[in-house]
Every structure is written in C-alpha cells, then in structure tokens.
C-alpha cells in the first residue's frame, strides 16, 4: 500500500488535518493583513474580542452561525448521497419567500409560536421545490447537478428580485422589500440563555432559529446514521452501482436527498428574515449558501462537526465586522478573503498534508512490527 492511501488514525483525519489546514489558511490571512500594513496580532485580538468578548458579540456570532448550520447541513446531506448541491444560495432565497408569505399572512393573526411551525414548513417546502428541478434533471436526464444548481441560483435571484420589485414591495416605497412583519410573524430573541450567565444580548438578533438549527442537526444525524433511508442515501453516495444492485432506487434517492437538502437550505431563511430584519429583502442570503460548502467540508459532513465549523465561521463574520470598525484599513472584504482561504485549504486542498502525515504515522506500527 502506498503511503498516500494508507489509513490514518481517526484523530489525525478528524482532528489534526483540519487544524493544520485551518492554520495555513489563517497564516496566509495574516500575511494579507501584514501586506496592507496592519499588525496581524492586533487583528486577531480585535477579531476574537469582537466575536467572543461581549454578550452582544457572542449573540451576533451565534446568529451568523445559525445560517451556516442550516446551509452546512444542506450541503452535507447531499454529500452523503454523492451529490454536490451548490444551489443552497438559491434554495435559501426561495425559502425566504415561503417564510415571508407565512409571516405576512398568518403573522397578523396568530402568535409567533403558532406561525413558526408553518413558516418552518413553508421555508423548507419552497427551498425543496427549488432543488426539485435540478434533482429531477440529475436523476432522469443525467444533467450535472453542480451546473444545474448554479444555474438555479441565478434563476432564483432573478425571480426573487422580480417578485420583490413588482409584487411584494410596499406600494410607493423605494426599497425592494416587503412590509415589516407583525409581531406574530417575528421570531423572538433568545435572551434567557444570556441572562443565565449575567451577560447582555444587546442588539444582537440571536433568536429561536438557533434552536431549530440544533434540532435539525440532531434530526440529520438520526436520519443519516439511524434510519433505513439514511443507510440507502449513504450506500448510494458510496457506490451508486452497488446500491442499485442492492435494490436501492437511484432516481428516488437523488430526488429525496435533494429535497431534504433544499429544505434544510430553505429553512436558513427563517433566521435573517423572521428572526432579524422582520421583512424580506433582496440578497438577504449573502453568500451563506456557499459558506455552507466550507462548513460541510470542515465538519466532515457530520452534524456535530458542522455545528462547530458554523460557529467558527460565525466568529469570522462577527469578528470581521468588528475588525473593519476598529481597524478601517481592514475592510469587511477581509472576511471574504479569509472565507475563500479557508474553503481553499480546508476544502479543496484538504488532503494536502495527507501524504506527509501518512509517512509520519504509518511508519510507527511497521517499525514496531519489525522489532517484534
């Protein structure tokens, strides 16, 4: 067996490699900061205190993390079936439409705890619907799902802008957004966990969607590793041909998985739309669908890993915002650069250190065997 494909201890694969990859990504980010003439150490300090130093900072960090848990889970579920859903962006955008329609109608008459389940359902349904056509095209016509989901991101964006400008906009208003939802269409902030520790949430829009996200993480874990459907999804993802021989219908697996994935992406909209701005706005997704790819890769497609990776990206988002406030030379675009580098090193180059690590950890047992 060559060193490159030698099995590694689990803690190396799941612990050391991601940490090494992240370290390289952050090292290069530090070089970028140094290149524009600022101190990387100061930047790290501002970033960490901004994201984790105050109750409000943590609130924002977890608020952003909520988005990434949803989109990360969406990408991960598709990964398990061997599919690459790059359309989380568009599915979340459409999910926002579903959530907003519920919030605009039921929100006027029902309290939030009755609106919420319906909004969750509709956000998921709309997101799933937007994943259905690419799924069907992949399953029945063999069109590459990566390409069709990219196309659907743009079609979705065009559709949403059209709806917001021509249909949903408040008559007479300039901004392409819906009216503010009534009380019943808004998700309440989660202040009590903060008060428990005597911290203040402040203006941070950390809300009930975080709990929904965690519930979804548990449900995805149960689905993938504890149900028959999850087994079939993983079997299809590992070896589609073998799965077909075992009687697992490929077409149905692709469509069901993509519906689940799209539904999870759609639910992401609950957080910014109903939890924060209380209205539907253009481009509210803001790249969270793409960040989901990085989150799923870093979390090794496991819900627990995804929650951690999402919080890490939440720290980057919130810390980055603080960074641009305190060190104006480092604009918010620095977060985009860091994200890109993390996606590059933790995603595309994730196995870069594998051969070296394999040499390091593979020698040990052989040497021991030789001695014995």
């Amino acid at each position: 067996m060559s060193a490159a494909s030698a099995p590694l201890p689990r803690w190396v694969t799941y612990g050391l490699m991601p940490v090494l990859n992240l370290a390289v990504a952050f090292l290069i980010s530090g070089l970028v900061v140094a290149f524009i003439g600022e101190s990387p150490w100061e930047a790290v300090e501002v970033l960490l205190t901004g994201a984790l130093g105050t109750g409000e900072g943590i609130g924002y960090t977890l608020f952003y993390a909520t988005n990434f848990i949803f989109t990360g889970l969406a990408v991960a579920v598709a990964f398990h079936c061997g599919l690459f859903n790059i359309g989380g962006e568009g599915q979340a955008y459409l999910g926002g439409l579903g959530a907003a329609l519920v919030a605009l109608s039921l929100g006027d008459v029902l309290p939030w705890y009755l609106t919420m389940p319906v909004a969750v359902l509709f956000a998921a349904l709309f997101g799933a619907a937007w994943a259905l056509i690419p799924a069907w095209l992949q399953a029945s016509r063999g069109s590459h799902i990566v390409i069709t989901t990219i196309m659907f991101n743009f079609i979705g964006a065009a559709l949403m802008v059209y709806l917001l400008v021509n249909v949903l906009k408040v008559p007479g208003a300039m901004a392409p957004e819906t009216r503010v939802f009534a009380e019943g269409g808004q998700l309440p902030k989660l202040t009590w966990p903060f008060e428990l520790f005597g911290a203040k949430l402040g203006a941070a829009p950390f809300n009930v969607s975080f709990v929904i996200a965690l519930v979804m993480a548990v449900l995805v874990w149960l689905l993938i590793w504890r149900t028959r459907l999850g087994y079939e999804i993983r079997a299809t993802g590992t070896n589609p041909t073998a799965a077909i021989y075992a009687g697992i219908p490929y077409k149905r697996m692709v469509i069901v998985t993509m519906l689940l994935s799209g539904g999870l992406a759609g639910m992401m909209a609950l957080n910014p739309v109903m939890g924060a701005s209380a209205r539907l706005q253009v481009e509210f997704v803001g790249g969270a669908g793409f960040v989901g790819i990085a989150v799923a890769l870093m979390g090794r497609s496991h819900p627990l890993g995804i929650v951690f990776a999402a919080i890490l990206f939440g720290v980057l988002y919130q810390g980055g915002a603080e960074l641009s406030f305190w060190i104006p030379a480092i604009t918010r675009d620095m977060i985009v650069v860091i994200q890109g580098l993390v996606i590059l090193f933790a995603g595309a180059l994730e196995t870069m250190f594998r051969p070296a690590l394999a040499r390091l950890f593979w020698r040990a047992p052989r040497a021991a065997a030789a001695k014995a």
């Binding site: 060559s2 970028v32 524009i36 003439g37 690459f84 790059i86 056509i133 095209l137 016509r141 063999g142 069109s143 590459h144 990566v146 390409i147 069709t148 990219i150 196309m151 659907f152 743009f154 079609i155 065009a158 559709l159 802008v161 059209y162 021509n166 793409f290 790819i293 890769l297 030379a329 480092i330 604009t331 675009d333 620095m334 977060i335 985009v336 650069v337 860091i338 994200q339 890109g340 580098l341 996606i343 590059l344 995603g347 595309a348 180059l349 994730e350 196995t351 870069m352």
Partner: protein, 323 residues
Amino acid sequence: MDLFTTAVLVLDSTIRLTIPLLFAALAGLYSERAGVFDIGLEGKMLAGAFAAGSIAIVTGSPWLALAGSILIAVLLSLVHGFASITAKGNQIVSGVAINFVAAGLTVLLGQNWFSQGGRTPQLPNTARFNPIELPGAAAARDVPVVGYLYAELISGHSILTYLAFIAVPFSWWALYRTRFGLRLRAVGENPAAVDTAGISVSWLRYRAVICAGIFCGLSGAYLAIAQSAGFIKDMTAGKGYIALAALIFAKWKPVPVMFACLLFGFLDAVAIRLQGTPVPLVGEVPVQIFQALPYILTCILLAGFIGTAIPPKAGGVPYTKER
C-alpha cells in the same frame, strides 16, 4: 430613430457585451476539455480586471496592464491547477474558493491602495485600449446598409475585441489540428490512455489551466481597460458563470462557444435596450427575464431538449496513476 439604426445599435452593444463572455468561455473550454472543471472563471476575470485597472493607472500603459492581468489570472489558475491536479482536491470547491478570494482581495487591496471604495481611479484614454477605426470606415459610412454596417458594427472596437474573434478560429485550430490539442482533448476523455502513451497527464492539464488563465486575464483586462475606464467593485457581476453556461450551451466546442456567447450577449443588450420601454403586443417585459434566460436555456439544453450536451468524460476527476 428608425428600426435599422436601432438594430445596429443593439448589435453593436451585443458585440461589446459578448467579448468578456467569449474570452472567459474560451478559457473554460481549454480547462474543461482537459478534464479540469473551472467554476473559478468569475474570480480569475475579477482578479485580472483589478490587476489591469491598478497597473494601468500606475504605469499608464494598457499593454503592461494586460500583461499584469494575464499574469494574475494565470497565477490563480495555477492555484486551481495545484488543488485539482497535484493535490487531487475537489475542483468545484477550489473554484468556489478562488471566486471568494478574488472578490474579497480585489476590494480590500483596492480600498487600501486607492481609497475609492474598492474602485481604481478613472483611467485617461491613453491608459486604455481605445476603439480602432478600421481603414475606410469614415468613407464607407455614407454607403447605404453595407457601408454603414461596416462603419458602425465592424469598425470602431478595441484591439481586444478583434483578438477575441481571432481567438475562436485559433482555439479551434489549436484544439483540433495540433498535437497539443489532440492530447488535451484526450486527457479530458481518457487520461489513462494518454498516460499509457507515455505523456504526462499532469503537465498537459497544467498547460490547459495556464491557457485558461491567459484567456481569463484577457477577459478581465477587457472589462477594466477597454469596456470601462477602471476597475469597479464586483465588475464581473456573474459574467464568469454566464460564460460557463455558454460553454455548456455550446457543448464544449469552440465555434459554437462564439455563437452561444453572442446569443447571451444579445440577450443582455436587448435587456438593457428594453429597460422601461414597453414592447408592442406584450407590454413591458421585466428585465429579470432576460437576466435569467441564459441560465434557463442552458438548463433546458442540459435536460436534453435541445440536443444533448455531453461533458468531457474525465471532467472533474483527478487522475491517479496507480491503483
């Protein structure tokens, strides 16, 4: 304005909007025919455009700017190449990463160097590629129809525009009539066979992504120093993805790539022309329909309703020599 003049104006802006798509789609053509998927076209164009805008304002030379644009785009291509060829990473993820890095870094550095909110300063005409008056254009203008078309439509574009249209037959020749092209296409279909013939799969694919970088650089330079007078934040605005759609729409073939780009450029030109003006019989057409049409058409094509688009067989799969 009569219908003929309007049509010529729309076609003229079609050409202008087609060029960045055409360069980028040709970039994708080289890369994807060699089996390396490239959704980082957008990012490479953007980085190239920023390099071109910055170098042009500092040196005042459009040629240096073009060289810089190509250099940066090739460097990003090599990063993509390293990730997808040497490190055998996921090519889609690598492309996404390049798009992120380019989107962030261009604005970050732009703000830092020029303090204009991520833009580069407005370029003087001497630092740009300016329209070239083809010989006899002024004289031919008064000749009805043919002369007018020559003067308005054919003449009066920058050198990059003509280069883009020359690049199409050149790419056809390079891919279908040279040894390099044959091997490049082979490596996208069956890398094991190429390897067996004693040719390095990696080196071929690296050369393919370098070609992709060169064309992305041309595309970016066109945006920043020919079409506009400087770099603007996020100036590619999804053009890299439309180019990708055009490439698929053209079924990964050079001459159809040109027609697909012209079609998508035309849709864009019509959308700009129709903005706010009602069409007879139909009424006002929302501009978003034209924005979405390239993607919708590509999806319909992919569904197999307008012929079939068969991607290079080994596309997206890193080549592993030993099993």
